[in-house]
């Protein structure tokens, strides 16, 4: 009795193997799509910005004259924005993570906060803009200043910091905690002196990634009413400000009016991407250098 028809198998084998080879190449080509687009995008931005990035561009203030326009104001604005976002996200994000990992009892409330955070991560950034507009700009009467923008951004990137800090804290092995308790340390002393120092590389990586998200984010700031045309430089967190993505936005949509604005937009994009690249490199460096594997 024959269990299978070897002739039938032989007949089909050729097309099956062919299909296998075709699919393999197809999958490879699909993988290339993303890489090719990235190369084109970067090449395109660089070629458009050729000759526009120089010391004047970095040190001049904004101007309607493309030859005189610079992004010093936007860079200063981004700096002040980070002065607000960095400490607020650190405090809120790490605090929440410590609570969830070390203090909260496993149960309804803890999983409620957890679900809430993953849902917050999925809320469109523009909705955070409306929250900031209603609560910080109008409700607290702050106006479109650095503090209002920074608090809005901090809430927007909070889930990123919480999740990465949680992972970092969870990766600290239990025996380190046990050893600390064994030497008479209290819970908070253990967290402060043992858990956090061991988790800090992971936490810092998460915070840098969150900040780089905040630096590139545009939509919520447009909703807050942050202007793009702003000549005076911000000098504190209660000053009006503008940031690089907003300059890029207005230069891009006004490029129909003044062709050189497209070059200015491209030049700002190069500066923005360079800053993001630096921040990500630092994050990767910290991760590789200080991340201890237990």
């Amino acid at each position: 009795m024959k269990y299978f028809d070897s002739g039938q198998i032989q007949k089909k084998l050729g097309s099956r193997l062919l299909l296998n080879q075709v699919a393999k190449r197809l999958f490879f080509l699909a993988t290339l799509v993303g890489l090719v687009v990235l190369v084109i995008l970067i090449y395109r931005v660089f070629s458009d910005s050729m000759g526009w990035i120089n010391f004047d561009f970095l040190s001049n203030r904004l101007s309607t004259d493309p030859q005189k326009a610079g992004i010093l104001g936007a860079i200063t604005g981004t700096f002040w924005l980070m002065v607000v976002v960095a400490p607020v996200t650190f405090f809120l994000g790490v605090g929440t993570a410590i609570y969830l990992e070390e203090f909260a009892k496993k149960g309804r409330f803890q999983s409620f906060i957890q679900t809430n955070i993953s849902n917050l991560a999925g809320v469109p950034s523009i909705v955070f803009g409306l929250l900031g507009l209603t609560v910080f700009v109008r409700g607290l009467g702050l106006g479109a200043v650095v503090l209002a923008g920074g608090l809005t951004m901090a809430l927007l990137v909070l889930p990123i910091v919480v999740v990465s800090a949680q992972e970092a804290i969870r990766a600290v092995p239990q025996y380190l905690r046990d050893a600390s308790y064994g030497m008479g340390a209290t819970k908070w002393q253990t967290i402060k002196n043992v858990v956090l120092p061991a988790a800090i590389p992971g936490i810092l990586t998460g915070i840098i990634l969150a900040l780089s998200r905040a630096i590139g984010e545009t939509a919520p700031l447009v909703v807050l009413g942050i202007p793009a045309l702003l000549i005076p430089l911000p000098e504190g967190i209660f000053d009006k400000f503008t940031v690089m993505p907003l300059q890029i936005y207005y230069w891009t949509i006004d490029a129909a009016l003044v062709a050189e604005y497209a070059n200015l937009a491209a030049a700002s994009i190069v500066v923005l991407l360079f800053i993001l690249f630096l921040m990500n490199s630092v994050a990767i460096f910290i991760r590789n250098k200080y991340q201890k594997r237990y």
Binding site: A30, G34, W188
Partner: protein
Amino acid sequence: MEKSIGQVRKMIEENKKTASFTNVVEKIIPKTLFVIAVISILTTLGILVTLLSETVAFFKEISFIEFFTGTVLKPLGQNAQFGVLPLLTGTLISSAIAMVVAIPIGLMTAVYLSEYASEKVRKVVKPILEILAGIPTIVYGFFALTFVTPILRSLIPGLEPTNILSPGIVMGIMIIPMVASLSEDALGAVPNSMREGALALGATKLEVTWKVIVPAAISGIVASFVLAISRAIGETMIVTIASGSSKNFTFDLTQSMQTMTAYIVEVTGGDAPAGSTLYYSLYAVAMTLFVFTLVMNLIAQYISRKFREEY
């Protein structure tokens, strides 16, 4: 002897003092951290309350039915009309285009990385995809308007300078890394024994992947698609820049359409006076957007929790 006992006593006293301080800290810290953790809930509540209260005000002026069945959106001037359908179609069409790009390419990338690529290739490709995912959306908007649109216009006659097609495609490219990385995680979680079993039965690599591995990881893969849709619906800057602000109610991809997100940008950028119908419409649209993305996210969570196969 007397002296040293005194010293010990002193030490004990001092210890008690610091101990009581430590005890106070031990009591305060959990409460403080609890308050901090609650801020994330307050954020969600804040979003809900602000959106809901202004949306209710909006529906006092415009009826629910008029809003959701109206095909004309003309927020300014006399006889203003507030039908959300033009925005809804704009959002759904741009998201659909993005999915047509992101789902096949993202899934094939995930399959290649998880099943075919060597460790070396993976180590090169994954960081590059992460870079692609980390590029700010405003940059993609610039790319869509100044690069993709001109190319498409030379290929498709009759394509308007601002149209829904170009931002849809670019949005899809932006989402590829997200679909690829989430799907790859799902594929990677399928145990090797299943691959070996199928290979031992004489299946080709493609048959193993397509008939065994992908079905086994389908819950994670579908969840990644749903999250990608949610991301596309909420995406703002690409569509704002490249699709213009025409509130056309159409299914013609060559035309300019406005999405819900782009409408919010346009109205807030124009400084709508607080209390006007225009101002309230902002929140009604944002509420619709919020509900859409929230439902998508909940579906994704439900799928990956409910249908996850445990091996």
